[in-house]
C-alpha cells in the first residue's frame, strides 16, 4: 500500500509548465531593474519631491536668517536714534537747569 501510495504521489506531482513566455517575462523584469528603475513608477516622484523640499527649506532658512539680520540692524538703528533723542532732550533740560542756576533771582522754576 505504501509503495502504491508513493507511486501515486509521484505521478500526481509531476512537473507542469508555467504559462508560455515565462522566461521572457523574467528577462523583462530583470531589464527594468538593470536600468536603474529601482522604484516602482508610482513612487518615482518621491526623490524629486524630497529634493524640492530640501531646496525650499534651505531657501526659507536663508530668507529667515536674512530677515533676522535686517531686523537686528533696524533695531540697532532705532536704538541709536532713541538714545540720540534722549540725549538731546536731557541736554535741553541740563541747559535749562544751568541757566536757572546762573540767574541772579534763582527760584525753584527749573529745579524741583
Amino acid at each position: 500500500m505504501s509503495n502504491d501510495l508513493e507511486k501515486e504521489l509521484r505521478a500526481a506531482l509531476r512537473h507542469v509548465d508555467p504559462a508560455p513566455g515565462f522566461a521572457s517575462r523574467v528577462s523583462a523584469r530583470i531589464d527594468s531593474e538593470r536600468h536603474g528603475r529601482w522604484l516602482p513608477a508610482r513612487y518615482r516622484w518621491i526623490p524629486a519631491a524630497l529634493a524640492a523640499s530640501v531646496m525650499l527649506c534651505l531657501i526659507a532658512g536663508y530668507g529667515w536668517h536674512w530677515r533676522r539680520e535686517q531686523q537686528g540692524l533696524e533695531a540697532r538703528q532705532q536704538l541709536l536714534e532713541a538714545l540720540r533723542l534722549t540725549g538731546e532732550k536731557l541736554d535741553v533740560a541740563y541747559r535749562g537747569v544751568q541757566d536757572v542756576s546762573k540767574s541772579p533771582a534763582s527760584g525753584n522754576a527749573g529745579n524741583t
Partner: protein, 178 residues
C-alpha cells in the same frame, strides 16, 4: 508652611511686576499725528528687540559701546517724536494725558524746564526703587515738535553720567529726592 511662604511671596512678586509695568507708560496711538508730521520717530524696543539690537552693536565703535553699556539692564525703550511745519500742530491734550500718568505714585519729577522765550518745555521724571531708578520719562515740547521718551528697566544713573560726550547727554547733578 509652603502655603504660607507662597502667600507671602505672591504679593511681593506681583508688586514687582506692577512696579515694572508702572514704569512703562501707556503711549497714545499717534497715527493721525504721524500723517500730519513732517518728520516722525517711532521707536518701540522691548526686551527681545533690545537684545537683538545689542547683538548688532559693534564694540569697536565708541557710540555702539556706550549704547551697549546704557541698555544693559533695560527692558524697554519707547520714543515718539513728531516735527511739524507749523506751530502747535499737535494736540496738547495728548501730551497732557501722558504727563498725567507721571503723577502716579512712584514717579518723581527730576527736572522741569519751561522757557517762556522760545516755548521749550522739558520734564524729566524718574521712578526710583531702593536707590535704583527703574524708569525714566522725558516729555519735551516745542512749538513745532514734541517728544516723549520712556525708558524702562534698571537705569544706572552713574552710567547716564558717564555718557557725557556720547549722544550729547550732559552731566546731570541729580537729586534723588524730589
Amino acid at each position: 508652611m509652603l502655603r504660607l511662604l507662597f502667600m507671602t511671596m505672591l504679593p511681593l512678586a506681583a508688586s514687582a511686576v506692577v512696579r515694572a509695568a508702572d514704569a512703562q507708560l501707556m503711549l497714545p496711538d499717534f497715527h493721525a499725528l504721524e500723517a500730519k508730521a513732517n518728520e516722525s520717530v517711532n521707536v518701540t524696543l522691548d526686551s527681545s528687540l533690545l537684545a537683538m539690537a545689542a547683538r548688532f552693536l559693534d564694540p569697536n565703535k565708541p557710540e555702539d559701546a556706550a549704547a551697549r553699556q546704557v541698555i544693559a539692564g533695560l527692558t524697554g525703550i519707547y520714543v515718539r517724536s513728531f516735527t511739524f511745519d507749523s506751530d502747535f500742530a499737535y494736540p496738547k491734550e495728548e501730551v497732557d494725558g501722558v504727563r498725567k500718568q507721571l503723577s502716579a505714585p512712584g514717579w518723581q519729577r527730576l527736572v522741569e524746564v519751561h522757557s517762556r522765550k522760545d516755548h521749550n518745555d522739558v520734564d524729566v521724571y524718574i521712578r526710583v526703587d531702593r536707590n535704583r531708578a527703574n524708569g525714566l520719562a522725558i516729555i519735551a515740547s516745542e512749538p513745532r515738535q514734541f517728544t516723549i521718551v520712556n525708558i524702562v528697566g534698571s537705569i544706572d544713573l552713574q552710567r547716564l553720567h558717564e555718557l557725557e560726550g556720547h549722544f550729547g547727554i550732559p552731566q546731570l547733578k541729580l537729586d534723588e529726592k524730589k
